[in-house]
């Protein structure tokens, strides 16, 4: 019985307190200068934390909100709206496969299947070695080069299913 109580207590124990690094704080403060109202920096602030840590954990929200001067609930609402703010851990490299119409017409489905087969994961999942996360994305604005894929900040296209293995080698 007492064993169980200890375990429950462990579960409700607060997680490591979240602290912004000096660099993150400095970058967020720099952004605040771009707007007459600090709330406007909220998306950029989330992106700054994500740039340094890969994703934005729940504990980060109240701390970032305080740095901007808005409520945690407001920031949570923003953080859950935008698809490029990751609220779960992602792999070292994020693969975004364009699934919009022009790429659909130039081989998206086969390309998607090639990624799924090569990595052994589905959309929304991360490989066991934390190397890759696979996501769908809407039109990357490179429709003349369909089918397209963005890996981290790099745009690739046209990509054939046969190119996938080779393409991934460049991302450790």
């Amino acid at each position: 019985m007492s064993d169980t109580i200890v375990k429950l207590a462990d579960l409700v124990k607060p997680a490591e307190p979240f602290v912004l690094s000096d660099e993150e704080r400095h970058e967020i403060e720099h952004e605040l200068h771009h707007y007459p109202d600090s709330r406007a920096a909220s998306i950029e602030a989330l992106k700054i934390v994500q740039k340094h840590r890969g994703w934005v954990c729940d504990e980060a929200i109240p701390v970032i909100a305080q740095a901007i001067g808005i409520s945690a609930a407001d920031l949570e609402g923003v953080a859950t709206f935008y698809s490029l703010i990751f609220r779960r851990p992602v792999g070292r490299n994020v693969i975004k496969v364009c699934d919009s119409i022009s790429c659909h017409l130039t081989g998206y489905e086969d390309l998607r299947d090639a990624f799924i087969k090569q990595l052994g994961i589905r959309f929304g999942q991360t490989t066991a070695d934390q190397r890759f996360t696979l996501l769908p994305i809407c039109c990357l604005g490179a429709c003349d080069r369909g089918a397209t894929v963005m890996i981290n900040d790099d745009l690739h296209g046209p990509v054939e299913p046969a190119d996938v293995a080779k393409l991934l080698e460049a991302y450790a």
């Binding site: 771009h34 707007y35 007459p36 109202d37 709330r39 406007a40 920096a41 909220s42 998306i43 950029e44 989330l46 992106k47 901007i68 808005i70 407001d74 609402g77 923003v78 709206f81 935008y82 698809s83 490029l84 703010i85 975004k96 699934d99 919009s100 119409i101 022009s102 659909h104 017409l105 130039t106 994305i137 809407c138 039109c139 990357l140 604005g141 490179a142 429709c143 003349d144 080069r145 369909g146 963005m150 900040d153 745009l155």
Partner: protein, 443 residues
Amino acid sequence: MTLRSAADPQYQKPLTRLIDRAAGPLDLAGYEAEGGFLALKKAVREMDPAGVQAAVKDAGLRGRGGAGFPTGVKWSLIPMGPDAGEKYLVCNADEMEPGTFKDRLLMEQVPHQLIEAMATAAFAIQATRGYIFLRGEYVVAADRLNQALAEARAKHYIGQNILGTPWSFELFVHTGAGRYICGEETALINSLEGRRANPRAKPPFPQIAGLWGRPTIVNNVETLSNVPHIVMNGGDWYKALNQGKSKDAGTKLYGCSGPANKNGIWELPFGTTARELLEVHAGGMRGGKKLKAWLPGGASTDFLTPDHLDLAMDFDTIAKAGSRMGTGLITVVNEDQSMVSAVRNLEEFFARESCGWCTPCRDGLPWSVKILRAFEAGQGTQADLEVLAKLTRWLGPGKTFCAHAPGAMEPLQSALKYFRHEFEAGLAKAPAEAGLAKPAQAA
């Protein structure tokens, strides 16, 4: 011959004249050597804000973001005069309409042109602050714009007391974090303010109460990029750029994507035909396949058929044919492609990108996807077919909070119109045909 002169034959393609993809974008000195920032100087030193507004109105410039609203008219709604207070200019650089890739080209290859354009437009409306709302995935454009901005600031084209005058204009690049709806101008304003990108009710229009409640003009990248050229050479020159092919003035960035031979983007006289785009510039359909259907300008435009290829690609002509020119970059569909699958792909996009604010859009779009999947699997019913037709009305103009859902219905309604047989082929076979015993008739 003076730089940026109407007499220069190169000047038939003003927006893309300075693009040399192999060499990359010009720096400020290179841009100035080609006549860059002369338009801003002319506006600020030789004209007044009303004069710049009049030039844009006379030129007949229409918005290139998809709706074709006359830019001069939009600007004329903004309060002017000493009591007007703080005003904002926002460039819509969200470019997420599937099938559209023109603004990327302008920002990556001639970033200074957009900066000069924004400064000139800001002078016309006497804005003191501007933002380029850039989609987050455009990382190359962000770098190049920020670099160009730093150069322009150093030369006082942007910042305090521009060119030594009392007028000041600060300009920032603001990058987004996904979601197509951010391109809708009032959702964009909410997003820029750091909120969820739900659209706002109109009226009041942004020109009266926009960013932070202040008068705001939102214009597309391509729209704004025309402004310096109009200021330099005037409305008559600008109108003649269409070579008499259209009622719409100037040139247009047209393009082609999908299974064609040489996809790309071309600046051509307004009113160039879709046939010329596909057959001359894009080199025809890939693999000698037949064209089955095409979207004139993005996912939210009605499909047209090969019979429409000789229409001039302009706002009125394409509207008369029952579609919309939208962004003017065509997407071609070949004979092998199932229209049901193409429409399912489009509606999946719209369903995922709905902001969720109003019920018809939030619930209706996933419903359409579910039905379309059934037709793809040969499991559709007659009742489903009727629901699809009804959805095109329930989600049509005026039924939802913004134009997202009506836009989503355009490819669906046109596919139902032109390719109904493909939907009917996806109806579930009658049990007898499918080789099953008929269920016993209830007595």
